[in-house]
Symmetry: D2
Subunit: 498 residues, 4 copies
């Protein structure tokens, strides 16, 4: 059986005594073993990164960027292979994996603009004959800790920008679907990246804690659940590091009475069930303003869901695949059960999907729940499954109050035709990423990704312009040149010359 | 005896049971009492700020900026009064207080540019007919905790930018010299700031901890010593807040053999002894490269120091005044003693200054110590007094290694005429603020202030462009307008009309 | 009778042989004489500016900005006096003059941010050990030529930014209402501006041509009619100068069937008739989509216009005052006549307003014309009077085609509630300044003002960020420091020392 | 014999009746014929561009950028072929052609960052509930006219940025070496660019004048000699177009007494003689400060020049090749003759180089002239050949005065070790591109290229950030949404529901 290891100092290794099973969620079978890094292995990666830093820091930004140009080419050339790896271990269908990879590549494209992005601010004559400028210098060795649900994309939110800014990187990806992440990182070597600049260590809490406590790690980027995000942020900060920690979400769409309902249903279908709802930007709650909107939404959504296909990752006709583990499958079903028990109506029930030939796969079918209230467990928690819950309220303000009362503030959306409603919503809602008739308002790579409230801890968002600031530190130089007599007064002429 | 209190919701109050003495360091006498806020008083201020936030947030940035235009005028009109207040409680001479105030006003000037500084990023057509833009919205209620040494300037690094970005502010200034800070803040009301937007609470650890734990406080800016900065950063971060915490410093100047030595001595004189060395940017170590440079430096500096005048704040002929407290006076003297005991040479000894008529004032005279080494206590610690120590090394690289080995990385400087040496130094030194022939490289208000290593905890520096990012959070909106039939196809014409 | 002259090198002068009458348009009487500068007088101003340039260029931007801070204060303190001057010579009512002045002051406020706006771009390590940065240096002596309709505001679009960028300025304002312009410029001296940096010459074509041909003038900003703008642009360009020349306008509002009609009428009232329509952003054509919208618009507008008051400038109850000259009054009336003759309906007729006690004033009443077509003279020309023309079309696309077919492209507006219509309109319309439910979409001072098509000749718009680029030239420095042996290798140590 | 034609609407064509010889300057033989476009052919290209514009304008910037990513790959893959084409027709050696191409590719890399570069400025709440933002929209069809000396690079300064900004482009390259330009442009089709977006027309004044007068051309970028640049600028401007016209140069290096003379000589060698001096940034005048510096410079340069190899393009051991035509060869020789006649000393004489086997090639050898004065013809003119002239002055100020007195202000350089001299020089010299110990201070692609004085006519420089502004026009939208009742008040609830 294949063993998935680490990528340290330009070498793939499988050092380590502890291992863990990697599953194929479409079949329920164990497919590989992943090695869990010890403290010593993580420190080996850190040492490699530390050693590579001085030369990489001094490499002109344009040359660093050219590694990214080449990396983009390699990612595109190897896209099918990568998507296959993702599908086998995560379960997502190839078109969905391709979408994930494409969003990841867009971050590489953005990193290609490093020479522009790293420009400092120059002020002539801040006082007579005194100039001052600010440079944005790399931090040193920085780390990323990433979740299972986007094994390609979320790491690509982090290390291309970190690296192109002149840092060296240690990635601790999810141990549940490690293969694509490891493979992609190794392409950087082929793209010309010097050994040691990029390193991947698979592992668990031991690896994480090593990163959080090692004095050579200057910054930590994290994406995962909120409790872990809080732990990461508090621990890294207490150790004097920079930290940005992205946590959970509960993303609501307000469906206004004037919405284009067919469009809204069509959009919500993908946003709620795509990737089995295992996205921190999944749209999991529809808030209908008024019962007319609510009835139309439920009725049209019920009809639309009849065409949804759930099944194994390697059939591209499927709309979505299994969830990541059996435990998670049971957890999702448990939330549906609890909603039912607490009085909601299970309009479309995906608890027992029949997937011929894949009976042991970790599948949950698309589920629609009506009559949900803010008190229900299924509403409070992030389900992270293919479940769309409908809440009905009697005004837009009530819908906004509901959203603002939730602990998370990652993404949200409004469906309306009305300019005023959209503007009021986007201005006032306490959520970091807002869609207007866009149910998955993930910012493009040249903006930045980040939620509000307990969805993100830190000053700066992920990727985009904020990543430049997160992965660099400002140095401000103030300069005056006292006269050295070289310029003025001194005569060198020969009297006979002129 | 005057009691100095708080400024809450537009009102000066002296609520509170606990008080503390405020001294006139030039005489050693107690001059006032300052009230130390209880948890309840701090919460009252927070509640006032919270109540003021919605309206202030919705006030257009240009109108918020106009409060700052008016505030600048008022600060200039009341400069003498403010400098007098500073001098009485801090001890600095009027020209020094005026300089402090001026640097503070420059931050108000910068805040006047809020409409430009708060511009978001707009992207047309991120996909077909989809637009996206990022706004920088205020955080809510934010807090500042500031030190005694710049009672006017350091608070002005914080709240003008915080407020002009749309936040409400709670300032916890130093309880040792509270009067000028309180007075200045109250001028904002005269400048037209709505009540509750700016609040000042005097206090001690109880006030600080209330701010660090209250869920309504979204961000904390701190300037003080490194141990406290670490505590603030770890505690605020563990409570999910943004934090920037600026700590201690040990600022070195490298004196190169090719330096213009008269200029260097002249510059160092002010940088080392100005404000009694109680500046986080004070230049307290001169590193001479080669003994020729060292000898010339010590000789010329000794001569120059003969003209230094130390004395009470209200005689503007004095160069600098007392230190802040008797305990601090003794601590500074203790460091000089320890240097002597550890083998250094006290070239100019300021341990027993004679200030006629002010025998009880907390004075320390300008002190020059030669033959200092990296192992001495006086070198390791931040003395925060009028003491310049000279270390001699045999190469510029040795000088840089010394600086990089110190735990602090606030400011540094090189004296040289050589372009290459200056560029190598500014590029590589692990210090956040670098001077080239500028001994106090405090960035101008339109750049940002921040050290490296253990001199600053956080992602973003104080004031300037970084302050905009620190005091706002990014919200990214993605927008598509599905056709509503309003634009296309629909005909409204009367056949008879055309 | 008062003679209005020039402001040259810090002195008010009335040098010059030729003069011209200045009228009070509210009474029709001659009130003053303005001196028309000869070529020699203009050259004297240029020489003064040229002499002042070297020192002003070297004055730190922050100090230049502080002149603007003070200038803002002086403008606010003298606002009533300035508005009175404007009213007497231009005829606009005090509230309108106050609005004009306020928009002008906003440009001064923007200029106060010069230190931020003038930051250059700094790139470290463009190659190994090579740095490069771009500075934005002033041009030298630059000129502005401005129209009668905003004697305070339009000059303030230009010279505050030009001056704060480090240039010296020659203003040739309109000779029809010269007093406020001259007075305002002279306040700069009181604000601390060195003599010669700002100069005003009143004059006619002789002055203009001197500016266009003098080799010391590096750039020309112009606002006026399109034929003159074209002449200015071609002539200045042929002489190798930078030029931005803003010309005429014909600003249309599309009134959609879903518009809030009461709001639209209310907005259009001010936009069409304010300042007697003598604004390059006046909204002079309403394009109703469908007859229902057209009928409602005409009906409600007719009713609303009953309350319009036209009369002398010094009665603040009036909504608008006279037009600038008798000839212009006759021209406006002529356009109304021609519309009538060509088949349009004069719904509200302002051709013979009765203004008791001001029978000789140059008044035209608010006029509403329905049934206008694209072929009519009154449609093709910029009337520059209080005349609103209504065109009816049968689709939004037809309305946009009409706008795009007009030679001008200054401002435009759409009244609608629909997000999609607004977005399509703002994206595609060939007009530089677009309002969505905003009839006078004059950009705020921190954006820039400029039309498209034959409304502006040049690359860069007026005021705001574009003004920084227009009034500065880029200088790019690339720097490498070869080793001079100062840093490396060289030992200076005394063997006995360590 | 091969006929070189046009690239119009995605097709290579050789339409046209008039042709002109293309030479191989290394042999002196005619190698190809180039077709000279008629007015009709140019108009055909314009029509194709006009037709392609609407769809290209609406293509998201990220998709436009991806064409550039692919274009970069194709340029790199076909580099050898392109360099061969350049060498055959221009005469430059392959390493020089490769350098040219690389600098061109860097502009393509910069264009890949379009999504970031095209971000507009967004202001929330410019007034209560009013937002405003500025977009940078493409101009339409724009044109470039480029010189013979960089057939690959200079066109690549223009069209990648123009196209990625959403414009369509007509390139009129030099008819003397048209093949590489045409081939490179055709690679854009392979990179996925839609037909009509990029077009190349070879031609002469008829083609140029068509471009300058056609109303569909919205902007013209030009690089060539100053007289033509002036004609282009005046004509395009008179026709209401944007224009940036880059003209001639006379680039001086100041050699200070403290310069590292070996380094200076080594740098000057390439800067003066590389590409036969046919570069607008060629360093053609060395100004020695003091005779000691002058003597050392001449002596060391004379020695270094002994190793210079001139010869045919296809021998990569050569340092430089022939000049472009026989006429130009004679012109260069004529300038050397005139210097001699006017009293200068021809230290190294390249007037009669012996190139075995290439006796008819248009060669001029490296030439060093000492004792040049400002009055000589050879000093006043841009020679554009491998000729370095030495002037001796007695102070740095005299050297700067000399540079500032010259009509051109493209590039300049100082060789010194002194920070103060370098800073004074770069601050004050009236030249747009300044090198400090860098003799060819061509800005990197992420800065912009442009001279001062009569070296550039226009507001904005070529390529880099300025290109974004030159190839887009600002549109500012101001938006308010009046309440439509959709959001507020309206109740939709069913009483039975809650």
């Amino acid at each position: 059986m294949t063993t998935v290891g680490h990528f340290i100092n330009g070498q793939l290794t499988t050092d380590g005594e502890r291992t863990q099973d990697v599953y194929n969620p479409s079949t329920g079978a164990v497919s590989k073993q992943v090695v869990l890094a010890s403290k010593a292995t993580v420190e080996e990666a850190i040492a490699a990164a530390q050693a590579a830093f001085p030369a990489w820091r001094n490499t002109p930004a344009i040359k660093r960027a050219r590694v990214m140009f080449k990396f983009k080419d390699l990612l595109e050339q190897n896209a099918d292979k990568i998507c296959q790896m993702i599908g086998e271990e995560h379960g997502k269908i190839s078109h969905d994996a391709a979408g994930e990879l494409q969003r990841g590549i867009e971050n590489v494209e953005y990193a290609c603009g490093a020479p522009e992005l790293l420009k400092g601010e120059h002020s002539k004559n801040v006082a007579a004959d005194v100039d001052s400028w600010s440079e944005f210098q790399p931090l040193g060795v920085v780390a990323g800790i990433t979740p299972f649900n986007f094994p390609a994309m979320v790491p690509l939110w982090m290390y291309p920008m970190a690296i192109v800014c002149g840092n060296c990187f240690i990635l601790k990806p999810s141990e549940r679907d490690p293969s694509s992440t490891l493979y992609i990182a190794s392409l950087l070597k082929e793209a010309g990246l010097p050994d040691g600049v990029m390193n991947v260590v698979n592992g668990d809490k031991e690896a994480v804690d090593t990163l959080l406590h090692d004095e050579h790690i200057k910054a930590v980027s994290f994406v995962g659940s909120t409790p872990i995000a809080e732990y990461i942020y508090a621990t890294a900060s207490a150790n004097g590091k920079r930290c940005q920690a992205l946590g959970g979400a509960k993303n609501h769409a307000i469906v206004m009475p004037d919405a284009d309902m067919d469009n809204a249903v069509n959009q919500l279908l993908g946003a709620a069930f795509g990737s089995s709802g295992e996205r921190c930007m999944a749209l999991s709650v529809a808030v209908a303003v008024g019962d007319a909107a609510g009835d139309a939404l439920v009725s049209k959504m019920t009809a639309a869901m009849k065409a949804l296909k759930v099944g194994p990752f390697n059939d591209s006709n499927n709309d979505f695949g299994p969830v990541i583990t059996q435990q998670h499958q049971q957890k999702v079903v448990g939330y549906i059960d609890s909603a039912e028990q607490q009085g909601a109506t299970i309009v479309v029930d995906g608890r027992k999907p029949e997937i011929a030939g894949h009976e042991k796969g970790f599948f949950v079918g698309g589920t629609l729940i009506d009559g949900v209230t803010a008190e229900m467990e299924s509403y409070k928690a992030e389900i992270f499954g293919p479940v769309l819950q409908v809440i009905r309220v009697d005004s837009m303000q009530a819908a906004m109050d509901l959203i603002d009362a939730h602990e998370y503030g990652n993404g949200t959306c409004i469906f309306t035709r009305d300019g005023e409603a959209a503007r009021y919503f986007s201005d006032n809602i306490q959520v970091g990423m807002v869609g207007i008739n866009i149910p998955l308002p993930v910012p493009v790579a040249y903006h930045s990704f980040g939620g509000w409230k307990r969805s993100l801890f830190g000053d700066l968002h992920a990727y985009g312009p904020d990543a430049v600031r997160f992965y660099t530190k400002r140095k401000t130089i103030t300069q005056r040149w006292p006269s050295a007599g070289v310029r003025e007064g001194v005569l060198f002429s020969m009297p006979t010359m002129s």
